[in-house]
């Protein structure tokens, strides 16, 4: 096993074991994984060269769906919440997507922003339905019909999320190597040619858009049950910006980077809030600047560079390193 593969497996193991030694980190990590799923949605869209500044919308749609379900059935059921949240975000993704896939770049970003801000305002305004700015409580749901204590539930939620994230990451990775995934990527490089292959760029983008909305939805449901509360802030534009931030931090276009970025972001944020309470935003801001200016391929890019250097130093790597061609066919 090469180092390049071993390190991620070790990191995954560390993440899985960390809560055993640091109980309080469990919920933080669950939140990070939930965000990581949503960030994966952003990463997916980045492959098509589009940046949404409103994907928190789908995060919020799913989170509120879970909250409403919980309210309607006095607690609710985790599996139902996930199914409903995912369904709602896919549906909203389709509806919003039908409009926004006609636009690109800044306009794409701005329209997404507009939709999310409308949803945000509705959540905030319709106090008697949504609880207004203070949001709704999400009581601890049952899991396949079983009532759980807090500790057990949190452990289950964490490991469940971890498994879900690994599975989803694998699926997205495969999707991106599939023919349709590759067509999706060509929206970034040459939509005209795609149309001249007889493929609808809008429909292709819509497929990816709906998938990305679903990913945000999954993240939203997990966040809602892990936090025990949903607020309109879930749909606020700063939240969308944060998702894009994490995507860039992890490494634009990297599936693994979405989760690495989310965990590092959460760690920086928690530490900054604890040790630099007055300037945590500033810390994050400088962190983001440093990444963009000095490591624009994000943490995953840094890792690749480090591994490249380590491998080229190893004496047994005798044969001349073949120039790696990014995106080469397997």
């Amino acid at each position: 096993m090469t180092l390049r593969i071993a390190v991620p497996i070790v990191l995954l193991a560390i993440v899985a074991l960390l809560p055993l030694v640091a109980p309080w980190s469990q919920v933080v990590l669950t939140l990070a994984l939930a965000k990581g799923l949503a960030v994966l949605g952003i990463v997916l869209l980045l492959h098509a060269g589009q940046v949404s500044f409103g994907h928190a919308l789908f995060f919020a749609v799913a989170a509120y769906s879970a909250a409403f379900l919980g309210e309607a059935f006095a607690g609710g059921e985790l599996v139902m919440m996930i199914v409903l949240g995912l369904g709602a975000s896919l549906f909203f993704g389709l509806m919003v997507g039908l409009f926004v896939v006609r636009y690109r770049h800044i306009f794409f970003g701005m329209l997404n922003l507009a939709f999310s801000m409308i949803f945000y305002s509705i959540l905030e305004k319709f106090y008697h339905v949504t609880g207004g700015a203070d949001g709704m409580q999400v009581a601890r749901p049952t899991v396949v019909g079983i009532e759980m204590e807090r500790a057990g539930f949190e452990t289950l939620l964490f490991y469940g999320s971890l498994v879900l994230c690994v599975a989803v990451a694998f699926c997205i990775h495969r999707f991106l190597s599939s023919p349709i995934g590759n067509m999706f990527k060509t929206i970034k490089t040459n939509e005209t040619r795609l149309e001249y292959l007889g493929i609808s760029a809008r429909r292709t983008l819509l497929v990816g858009y709906v998938v990305s909305a679903g990913l945000c939805g999954l993240g939203g449901v997990l966040m809602a049950v892990a936090q025990g509360i949903v607020t309109p802030e879930y749909a606020w534009w700063i939240r969308s910006g944060e998702l894009v931030f994490i995507a860039i931090l992890g490494g634009a276009g990297s599936v693994a980077g979405a989760f690495v970025g989310a965990i590092i972001y959460e760690a920086v944020r928690v530490n900054a809030a604890a040790f630099a309470a007055d300037v945590w935003q500033m810390v994050l801001g400088f962190f983001l600047l440093a990444i963009i200016l000095f490591a624009s391929r994000g943490l995953v890019g840094l890792y690749e560079r480090l591994m490249d250097r380590l491998e080229s130093k190893k004496p047994q790597a005798k044969e001349p390193q073949e120039k790696r061609v990014p995106g080469a066919a397997e």
């Binding site: 770049h105 800044i106 970003g109 701005m110 910006g241 801001g285 400088f286 963009i292």
Partner: protein, 301 residues
């Protein structure tokens, strides 16, 4: 809704539109030239307001003449443009023009986050309020309702003046023409030897100063509080997108549209007030994807 209320709604809408326009016009100017949607613009607005309120509070308390309020606003705008905007363009943005849209936007987002905390470190979290300029001018009674002269007359006048002077600056002066040339066709402009670096710097400084000026004007009518920049920036995004990116006159019309829409909502359906800007933006973009005054660019193949 009777004629009196109709008129009141119009007055309120226009005053509000004037303030929003000041911020949006800088944003759209910067976008037109640099092709960057500057999130930190909200911070420039807030800092302009803080500067005016804090300096004004200090000098008027020390007994200086109230007429200094207006020059002070210009000073605050200049400080924001030169001290803040200049270095940000020079040291930061210049390094990222070759990068993707998303990265450029995120850089300004990072600047925004940093400036939010800078504001808090400098000015703390207590609200500032400095209304000397406004109190000097007194009130006007219209239909039995008192308006401040500042809001009813000064703000719209200033906005129109800014619009006209910006137009003249862009059409009549050399620097302005250079900015316009780069806005319309960046490649050709640089190809014929226009110093794009200088134009970018100038544009950013002017744009930032306009945001600062907007903040300075607003400081007379509102409390200057942490977080005021975040709200303003989304609103001016909506204005700019509705108008069409880079459209200066368009921004004035879109600001008016959104300002009036908002004030009529307060009279007719208060619950819709916050939704109005986004609904207008959405409706406009659905019908005209490039904004009210935007130009469609087809790709040459």
């Amino acid at each position: 809704m009777n004629a009196q209320l109709f008129a009141l709604a119009v007055f309120d809408g226009v005053a509000y539109a004037a303030l929003v326009f000041m911020v949006a016009v800088g944003l759209t100017l910067i976008f037109g030239v640099l092709r960057i949607l500057n999130v930190a613009h909200g911070s420039f607005y807030a800092i302009g307001a803080y500067l005016t309120a804090s300096i004004g509070g200090a000098i008027f308390a020390a007994g200086y003449a109230p007429w200094l309020a207006l020059p002070l606003m210009f000073l605050a705008a200049a400080i924001v443009g030169i001290v803040l905007g200049g270095p940000i363009e020079r040291l930061l943005l210049r390094r990222i023009y070759a990068k993707e849209d998303a990265l450029q936007l995120l850089v300004t987002f990072a600047v925004f986050m940093i400036l939010e905390d800078v504001q808090r470190l400098i000015w703390g979290t207590q609200p500032y309020f400095e209304a000397t300029a406004l109190q000097q001018l007194g009130n006007i009674e219209v239909f039995g309702v008192f308006y401040t002269t500042y809001q009813l007359v000064v703000l719209p006048l200033v906005a129109i003046t800014v619009l006209i002077s910006l137009r003249l600056f862009l059409r009549k002066t050399l620097s302005g023409k250079l900015i316009l040339a780069v806005t319309e066709d960046r490649e050709t402009a640089t190809a014929i030897g226009i110093d794009a670096d200088k134009v970018y710097l100038l544009t950013f400084v002017v744009g930032a100063a306009l945001a600062g000026f907007g903040g300075a004007l607003a400081s007379a009518t509102t409390s200057v509080v942490p977080g005021m920049g975040a709200d303003m920036i989304v609103l001016s995004f909506a204005v700019v997108a509705t108008a069409g990116l880079g459209q200066i006159e368009g921004a004035a019309i879109a600001a008016l549209l959104i300002g009036l829409g908002r004030s009529f909502a307060v009279y007719l359906m208060p619950e819709l007030q916050v939704l109005i800007p986004y609904l207008i933006m959405l409706l406009v973009l659905l019908v005209r994807p490039e904004g009210l005054f935007g130009v469609v660019r087809t790709r040459k193949i």
